[in-house]
Amino acid sequence: MNLAAAIRERNAAELPSKRDEDWRWTDLRGLIRTAPEPSQPFTGQLPPGPFDALAEDWRVLINGGEATVDVPARTEAVEALRFVARGAGSHVASATIRVGANARLLLLESYESDGASLALASLTLALEPGAVVERIVLTADHEDAVSVSQAEVTLSPTAGFSQTLVAGGARRQRLETRVLHPGGSAELRLDGIYLLAGKRHSDQTSIVTHAGTDGLTVQLAKGVVRDQARGVFQGRIVVEEGADRTDARMGHHALILSDRAEVDAKPELEIYADDVACAHGNTVGALDEDALFYARQRGIPEDEARALLTEAFVGEVVDRIGHEGAREIVRAWVAQGLRD
């Protein structure tokens, strides 16, 4: 049974658990004994969304619903898509996005909740040849919420897709991206940031399948966890037989700033072709004491030095965001997240 059906039918026994290899660090079945009632329609006033300043128009899916975005060939569009959960119910939302040949889309997506909801958002994105999409995802989930987002991205040759996930965590939060990469000079960038405090959890999972020759994938995820928070990164790059000259690079780096925080990572390579260059790097640790010492010796107070170094650590991912306006919104969000 898939997750959407399990939520719709309120079948808690069919939710993914730590016994499912892909969910080993994001156990839903162990957490949710009885699935919540379906969410009620919401008619009240919504607070402003994080990207209101950038988009003229936005689609809001409150407690479920469906959306379709069609970007015609050779046009440019900015779409804001808000997945909102109000109350403590469960629901499934979905969006289908098609981007025509040589069109450009800036997709600004947010996940917002205000209670112990159980929400799933399914996205399907299809990019035609030459289409270029930048997807920025910001989360503003409640600490009791369970929120899962599953995106399926299909690229055409010569298309370009870049994504930055910016996650603040929830009771359980998972941002999953699956990309079918046809090669043929299509370019993919999958980045992520997570800043977690309290007892929050956030999981960034990606599976990139290279099916054709000459594909490029770069991935960089960085996380900072404090208190008893838990960050999860799972990245799998699959290079199918014959997908020669694939170039794939993945990096995941996390800072643990307290004794009881946790980071779990599984960067995977699954390679069936020989003419490839694939690599991943993964580091987990505390702030570099030497750098801290250097900063303090220059007269910067310890707290400030820590904040500065942490901001610089995450800043590398922020700097890679292509759209300037979105980059500054994310930068402000990160600065806020590190101050709190």
Partner: protein
Amino acid sequence: MAAVRQTVEHVQALEKYQHGFSTDIEQDFAPKGLNADIVRFISAKKDEPEWMLQWRLEAFERWLAMDEPSWAKVNFPRIDYQDSYYYAAPRAKAGPKSLDEVDPDILETYKKLGIPLREQEVLAGVEGAPRYAVDAVFDSVSVVTTFKKELAQVGVIFCSMSEAIREHPELVKQYLGSVVPVSDNYFACLNAAVFSDGSFVYVPPGVRCPMELSTYFRINAENSGQFERTLIIADKGAYVSYLEGCTAPMRDENQLHAAVVELVVLDDAEIKYSTVQNWYPGDPETGKGGIYNFVTKRADCRGDRSKVSWTQVETGSAITWKYPSCVLRGEGSSGEFYSIAITNGRQQADTGTKMIHLGANTRSRIISKGISAGKSSNTYRGLVSAHPKAKGARNFTQCDSLLIGKRCAAHTVPYIEARNGQAKFEHEATTTRLSEDQLFYVMQRGLSQEEAVQLLVNGFVKDVLQELPMEFAVEAQKLVAISLEGSVG
């Protein structure tokens, strides 16, 4: 260059699998199949005390309730556990007292394999040549252990497991199953029920074992499985270096090898465990036959500042499922894992390590080099974890995979679990093929393609070969060359 020339000569001189012969000797078998009576039969055959039989029967009960694991990236038809012999032993004349009483055919077998069972043969080389003591396990039993007397003088116990159960029950009772519990996993549990022999080593406090110890495993009988169990205890401040080698005849049916190795390391002690695994890999074209190698190896660094180093060269077996692990419990203890895993033909390997940091200031280092050629599949799977108490834990992991050919596969599946803010983990992995530029450069200097590949591969695995004891390093280097023969062009 001498090493390369030697490697090339070696390849030319040998067939693909040089240990594929079988020895025709009279053997005792247990009836085919597996049930509680077979467990009793094995226990009775080995004259075991009642507590040992109970231990086995309990393990068998638990095994019946377990399911075969399926998470590894290997594919094979379901194993029929009833279609195998669980005990095969050379028919002995009531326990040979000396080497002269051992069946000459067996001695001949080991001679062919190049394993010195006669102490004078070890000594017969150049003066000052390194010596090593051997425990030779032939199918289900240990046939001979050399240098026992000399080792006993310094207090080192080196004998077969069956002998240890008889002679040193207190040590066996204390440590057996304390590192790999009976029901740890499916294959370890099966092993606990039907294990037949293996080596037992105890190094007393403060003793540095005067020579390398080694066990040589040979599967000979048809349709049989080998289930050996090795237990090594390094008491406080002790040191021992242990080598393990394995081969099997070429047969069309698959044979099961499910071993358990337990290492116990107390304060300031060190164990260095090296393996050259060269079980028959099956037919490279059809994939028929070969050994299923499902092994559980684990070291428990119980003492402070204790150290374990696993070095493995895996070239054989149709299927390898093996994760030598270190439980770093003692403060400041350290674990190392150096591995070369080569798959060719239709071999499948899923191998790696687990470094479990429990104590403060524990350190671990993983260097894994995987090479896949032919139509094989090679997976590195490893876990590095730091528990909340493992303050100051440090890990460095480097996993490199090399692909030779269009039809092979290489996977890297590392798991990293950091549960405290003062642990520092670094992991790097790469997957590439042999560099065209380097090949071109070397061939332009006059080397043939085969030689060039061997030279580059030797360079690729050099970091690990350096960690092997000298006599093994030479053998391993040759093995690397032989395993990759025919994979180029």
